[in-house]
């Protein structure tokens, strides 16, 4: 599973960690995040992320 970086604020979504602020469990791939998921730092949607590894 790949990490993704927010193009606005540089937040990195790490699938090994998930995102507890929005109920995303560890082990959730970026591709499987719901469309309603937003960057927990700056609030943009998934379209503003790029794959980094």
């Amino acid at each position: 599973m790949n990490k993704y970086r927010c193009l606005v604020c540089s937040y990195i979504y790490d699938p090994a960690i998930g995102d507890s602020t929005q109920g995303i469990a560890p082990g959730t791939a970026f591709e499987n995040l719901p469309d309603t998921w937003l960057c927990p730092e700056c609030g943009v949607d998934k379209s503003q992320f790029e794959k980094i590894s």
Partner: protein, 286 residues
Amino acid sequence: MPEMKDFMSNDEIAWCPGCGDFGILTAVKKALVKLGKPPKDILLTSGIGQAAKLPHYVKCNCFNGLHGRALPPAAGAKIANHALTVLVTTGDGDCYGEGGNHLIHNIRRNLDITVIVHNNQIYGLTKGQASPTTDAGYVTRVQTAGVILEPLHPLEMVIALGAGFVARGYSADSEHLSWLILEGINHKGFALIDVLQPCVTFNKKNTYEWYSKRIYKVNEDPSYNPQDKIAAFKKASEGGERIPIGIIYRVEKETYEDKSGINKRPPLVEENIENIDIGAALKDFV
């Protein structure tokens, strides 16, 4: 050594989703981590505007003052405590508009402070009026026929005024911007970093897409010499279809601390004032 979490503030962030300020906030915190000083030895000052909120979102010392007056408390704090790392976070309106006079004279003063200008080319907090850096012709709710004035060119201006460290960053490249901020902090003297920053709500021209097509890193060109003032002025004049980011100009100059000798003494805040009699001085006022 401090970590990112040491600079995390509990304040709720009140910027629009996608605001360029988020990238600047990330870059400031990354630079402070690399600097290696504890939060108690760092001061952020600001005036009024969206940029002026940033000190609230970093856990360290903070002074949020009046519109355009981000620089005077920074200068005062540095004079009282030259051991303090002092950063100013201000906007294109706050710094180049209301605070223009403070900018001019603090460049002259050349205190060892770092000024980060969030330049989104619009007044965001007050809902989208033209700022000093708004492009001519841009239509706002107030300038309904388009801005009729030429924009200010901040980098050309501060180079001409004699600033020793002049740089331009881009909010969406926080790694590069954090490097610029750290270089600015480590520069002995006044450092100004103008940061291109999209305003997703009120500036529909200078967007992420618009910037990403135009910016390039000047310091990737080994032939570019940032110590050459004439070359720096020409580089700062570039705009339109190609916009340089990086260290545009850098030259060491004698600082206010050197000239005044305050850095030869302990910081004023550490001096013992217990046995000082100010009675004679006070008599002049009565």
